[in-house]
Symmetry: C2
């Protein structure tokens, strides 16, 4: 099996991933796939280079680098090319036939990028490589699960320092900046990979008080008005007030993988309804941790969460008050928003070794957001929490 | 003229932009354009919402919001729709004919996003809206120039605090984290908008010592190895050593616009070659500031910079040593990497009110990167510096 130029000790891991990818290609009836997005290059190489990976049913994958990336000359399966137009020539030189069907990443490449790659194979039918790769990445390898667990441990280390970050009279944004520093010093790489074009965010968000009810145009469960019309999300720069809550939903990102974890603090005092809702969020998580077994439809998790919220008379605050998110969780891995989306209309079954973030949250008017989010691995014994950290509503 | 739901005082500014966009549409022979990317929505609205803007030659633009974004009911020209498929129906309801040619953003939307919009107009020819919008955004309005100047002032305020950020024995990454905090406290929004898919970076980079010579797969003038294979760019986590330089190329981003500014510091002492190269960078900037008049081909700037470097015997260090960037600057605005790219093969003429970042840099082996980057506005009197801050090689 060929290997890319970095991390030679990842050979068994990459072989496992290649196998998973080829299985998904076979299921899609697709013999050839050309990948170019950084996420999928990272998945199949363990590192980032500029170039392409060609995966063909009957051959080892081939890595093509374009400048400034360059492979050492003697690395089997690794080639340096000037431009992607040289890939069909390379195939012909190898005596291979050009693919009749080629998978390209519809949901990961810009239109112009994809059209360029499509033109390399003018006679081929083009199918969606993004769904094949998302299928392969849907369940994680043991190595990946440990990466996410490690990420969660770093996140927990960072969250432990939140009360120290707070100084009297701080705004939500000032608190966020101190937490960002703590995350970065703990090793957070400072760049969030997310699928699609609907997530513009740095390291996460801090939502305090009534700002929890401000809707944002982005795909986040809680919005926040932000401080500038160019980035209307998250902290709004107002002083944190006694009697309100501060929800931290900072994303990890310490090692190429993400964990997603939310905890909530309050300032001085907090009213009973908020405490009740926060405890309800924890009760929902405990319930989902047990029922989320392989084979259970994802929608059952959403339905169960809503049912518990309803039983406790908290439905009107569930996942937002003025405007509501329609999901309570999402897959997570290299990207923050992987498959599956945990929502009512997704009947997709849970699979062993899926990693999902579950975030049943409530917005209590004039108090703020409450609730807990953990990142879990699906196992035959229920969910394994990868973001272990005290969940109680805690004083700042 | 219709207006979107935010910032009503931006009406004259938005009208000016709409005029510029319509001019570029006319030049491209295109009567209809449908925009969906956040950058272009921001450009034509002064804010971000989820939805679409339809620009037609003979009509006022129309703003369509999809949930969770929502326009107030009575705002002329603003409509709430459930999905983009309702746009052709809206056109028919208005008695308008469906466009025969529609411009969509080839370089700003994912393939799947664009294909969905294309399917709304099955009989229309589709042309590239990204190039039309890039053409309109190529020169800035006075309002935009002041936004970039304001951004540069905040950046300068932040850079003034760099020596205070440094503590003996720090790594490049630790210094970067303290500078990021200073930038954020100064108002940096913490999210970098860049065109294409080849820039994965948080707030900028700090490059110390030999790390300046590590190539990165991204489109940055200086690379850096980074600290993790998932993000091979920038600071590499090594302790900053006496006798080496530390180059800060942090991006602004305080108000929806970017300024780009590089300054260089050294620890304890620095060798003569590095000082000479740093002064050469400044001499190049002084020279370009005078010659960069409207009408001058962009390539002349690159050629002149290289010529000066060559005259001083510094060519082998120019824009990298082991691997070299092929550009010395780039347009800048809402995105970090706008048109034009300042490189040898770009004969595009400079235009009045273009904003460009110029970054003639050198990499001196065993010392590090040196040089200065400023963001400028092109005027009939030469370049107007929007990032005013002392340029001398300074002690940390």
């Amino acid at each position: 099996m060929t290997l890319p130029f970095f991390l030679p000790d990842m050979k068994p891991e990459l072989n496992l991933r290649i196998e998973k990818v080829k299985e998904k290609m076979a299921e899609a009836g697709c013999d050839s796939m050309l990948l170019a997005s950084t996420v999928n290059i990272y998945y199949l190489s363990g590192g980032i280079f500029r170039g392409y990976i060609l995966v063909e049913k009957d051959y080892d994958p081939v890595w093509f680098a374009v400048a400034p990336s360059e492979f050492p000359k003697d690395r089997p399966g690794c080639f340096n090319i000037r431009k992607p137009e040289m890939i069909p020539d390379w195939l012909r030189d190898q005596g291979r036939t050009l693919p009749a069907v080629i998978a390209l990443e519809f949901d990961d490449l810009l239109y112009s990028e994809l059209i360029r790659l499509k033109s390399l194979f003018p006679d081929a039918e083009v199918v969606n490589a993004s769904s094949i790769m998302r299928g392969a990445r849907l369940t994680k390898t043991p190595y990946e699960i440990e990466k996410i667990r490690e990420d969660g441990m770093h996140q927990a280390q960072s969250y432990a320092q939140v009360p120290k970050c707070y100084k009297e009279g701080m705004t939500d944004l000032e608190l966020q900046i101190e937490v960002e520093r703590v995350l970065r010093l703990e090793g957070c790489l400072g760049y969030l990979r997310a699928a699609g074009s609907r997530m513009e965010l740095n390291l996460g968000s801090v939502i305090a008080g009534d700002n929890a009810d401000a809707p944002s145009p982005y795909d986040f469960s809680m919005g926040g008005a932000g401080v500038d019309p160019s980035l209307p999300v998250g902290a709004d720069g107002k002083t944190i007030k006694p009697g309100t809550t501060v929800m931290l939903d900072m994303n990890g990102g310490f090692n190429g993988y993400q964990s997603d974890m939310t905890r909530t603090w309050y300032l001085e005092k907090v009213d009973d309804l908020a405490v009740k809702a926060h405890e309800c969020s924890r009760r929902i998580l405990r319930s989902l941790e047990k029922m989320a077994l392989p084979g259970v439809p994802v929608s059952d998790l959403y339905d169960k969460a809503l049912e518990i919220a309803r039983e406790e008379g908290l439905e009107e605050y569930f996942m937002g008050h003025r405007s509501r998110a329609k999901f309570i969780g999402h897959g997570i891995g290299i990207e923050l928003n992987e498959q599956p989306v945990v929502m009512a209309r997704n009947r997709q079954p849970l699979l062993n070794n899926m990693t999902i973030a579950l975030e049943p949250k409530f917005v209590i008017p004039h108090v703020g957001a409450v609730g807990v989010e953990n990142t879990y691995c699906v196992t035959p014994d229920g969910l394994d929490n990868l973001t272990v950290f005290p969940e109680e509503l805690a004083e700042l």
